[in-house]
Symmetry: C2
DNA sequence: CTTGTGGTGCTTACAACGTAAACATGGCGA
DNA sequence: TCGCCATGTTTACGTTGTAAGCACCACAAG
């Protein structure tokens, strides 16, 4: 049989390149094929259809940067590291969140592995597995939701500019007060993210430490 | 001039119906027009293009259910009410989150009004406006992110079924332990949501009550 | 009453998309 | 050497968003 010149991994990688350059709309079968000196239809030999390609792209990005090994001993440090990593990933690939919203939530192998890593952060904590997932979900959701709000979308117009534009002249004084606040200070997205991250981790920590019925067992002190 | 038989509001409302029935992909200019006994091109007299239509749909849904008036006196009650309302909205219109992810974050008039309502919940709290927005963002993001994970996407396959399917046989024991947990117990999305909501509100409350430099001023006790 | 005039909806047309179907090709097993 | 079949290509079809031009009609001006 004819030696294949295309591979599934190569296709996915190229599609990711295309998406990074031109957004998710640019991920066209023909265009991805073109970057590989192939026709658009060639992709169908390695990928069921466009949606499957998107799912593959999502899972590829999900495992792109590994989480730190060994995992920090205290769950709070581990989860913070994970949150930062995800946060960075979302900005490295602005199309990522759009894709996950469009497709159903993708539980590919790499994504599952990441979840396992995160769950292991709670190994020292005496909570039911389902509650561990619930706690994780709070953090995942926060990171995802905030990124969704602030990732630059399509056109080059800065998100900050868009907000100040829209908030002024609305006659809503509390919103306009924020614009004043934003104008004078710097616009530091990472700082905003870290602020919220602290609140979320605080909420989780409060739960783990104050439930009288299930005391924390042998959680290592943070150094 | 010829009396108009279409109106922008009518178009937006019809488009929302279409999306509720057949998902966001069904929101085609031609199909929305057809429901109004009009051609697809007729819509362009009232809406710039498809994206503008989506943005209008988003803002319409954002203001569909008003938040409770009068607003609960304690910020925590107010924010909880808001979060539940948003949570319900996301499930009433599964396409909503997909649309907000696709378009840039939409700050339409109704959405801004909702934000103003939420900000007012912090009127009794002595925090800088920018920090109020940060605190709100934590909650918004959590609700949005969790809904994004659990809203049924497209096909009728239940999300729960999809998860159990994917989690089994991965060889990752922490994930499989969760499936066992899910299997025996009930699968109560609202309970999951409320659990996380408590954690987020706890995190916010901890911040507001323990900062030594900015004490809470005259926040009313909850009855 | 007649006559623009401009807002409204319709028709046609086009490029781009996902993808089904048939075809061409070339390396490997027999 | 022959045939097979996986791989990539070509062609084609239906659907999409939307640009361009046309047809209509109600009102203001004459």
């Amino acid at each position: 049989m004819a030696r294949p010149t295309l591979s599934r991994e190569q296709i996915v990688a190229t599609a990711i390149e295309v998406a990074d350059d031109g957004g998710l709309d640019a991920v066209t079968m023909r265009l991805v094929g073109q970057r590989l000196n192939a026709s658009g239809m060639a992709l169908y030999r390695h990928v069921a259809n466009r949606e499957a390609l998107l799912e593959a792209m999502i899972d590829a990005v999900a495992g792109e940067f590994g989480y730190p090994e060994p995992r920090p001993a205290h769950w709070r440090d581990a989860l913070a590291a994970m949150a930062w990593q995800d946060w960075r990933s979302y900005f490295a690939h602005p199309w990522f969140l759009v894709a996950t919203a469009t497709c159903r939530p993708v539980l590919g192998p790499r994504m599952l592995q990441s979840m396992e890593w995160a769950l292991a952060a709670f190994d020292d904590v005496d909570v039911k597995p389902h509650e561990k997932l619930r706690l994780l979900s709070v953090l995942y959701s926060y990171v995802q939701g905030l990124a969704l709000t602030w990732t630059p979308q399509g056109d080059g117009e800065s998100v900050r500019q868009y907000w100040t534009e829209r908030l002024l002249g609305t006659g809503l004084n509390r919103l306009e007060a924020i614009v004043g606040d934003l104008g004078e200070g710097e616009f530091d997205l990472d700082a905003d993210f870290e602020f919220g991250l602290r609140r979320v981790l605080d909420g989780i920590e409060l739960y783990l430490t104050t439930r009288p019925e299930r005391p924390v067992k042998a959680a290592p002190d943070r150094q």
